[in-house]
Amino acid sequence: MSLVMAGRRPTSGEASTATPPSSRTLWAAEDLIRLVLALLVGGIVVGVAWYICSGDARFNQQIGPLDAAVGGLIFAGGGNVMWLLRGRRALGERRRALMPDLEAAILPAGSVRPVATSPSDPSDLLVAGDGLVRYHRAACPLASGRSWTGMTRGEHDAMGRQPCGVCQP
């Protein structure tokens, strides 16, 4: 369990570092602690509510524990939902960092601009597709076979683009 759950959650910024895949984890340790705490607190509240309720034969005195039990259930459910949402978000961030240009694959061929010509040194240029948020080295696997526009890093930065997490230009 700890193999997958413990450790740091990768963020989009961290994804640009060349970390081996095995060192990244889906949930951080604090996420696991939060989940366990929510389940423990919720479970204990339900258990105590049941104990109090079963020891009292007066209906009016049982309403309070019943409310508490429902509250405990909602609290534990909130912990579950938070856990799943954080997992989903981590997955989405990593997927976007790893495959930032997936949109390019589904764009019609005519919508991609041809490569800019006559740079002083073509190896200085970094490429990116129209409307995409990451720029790449020309030799990046994610840019191979694509006729993307070559620009300088400053131009990409000015357009609000970020460096690719794979080729790390």
Partner: protein, 99 residues
């Protein structure tokens, strides 16, 4: 694959199923308990233990199951990243070998 090995590898789904079954059993026991008496004061403990407790267990089981799905997807991304890194390193290694 041997059942024990499968259970070890899929511990999260196994536990999820166990919790879902336990939750269903709790709900049934709660229903039996509630239906066996006409007094609200006697029914409420069953509602809390069987009903709310059962929903609690079902929720934890469902969370575990969905977590297992998310983990599977994470491992797929691990493999994709590894493949991309190997692809990136491939031509460089070939060039070094050629020298």
């Amino acid at each position: 694959m041997e059942p024990t090995k499968w259970l070890r590898l899929q511990w999260d789904r196994t536990l999820a199923w166990a919790l879902v079954v336990a939750g269903a059993v709790a709900l049934i026991i709660g229903w039996v308990g509630v239906s066996s008496t006409a007094y609200s004061a006697e029914q409420l403990p069953y509602i809390i233990s069987g009903g709310i407790g059962g929903i609690f267990l079902l929720g934890v089981g469902a969370t575990l199951w969905l977590s297992a799905d998310l983990r599977d997807e994470w491992r797929k991304l691990d493999r994709i990243e590894e493949a991309l890194q190997q692809r990136e390193a491939g031509p460089l290694h070939a060039e070094v070998d050629a020298h």
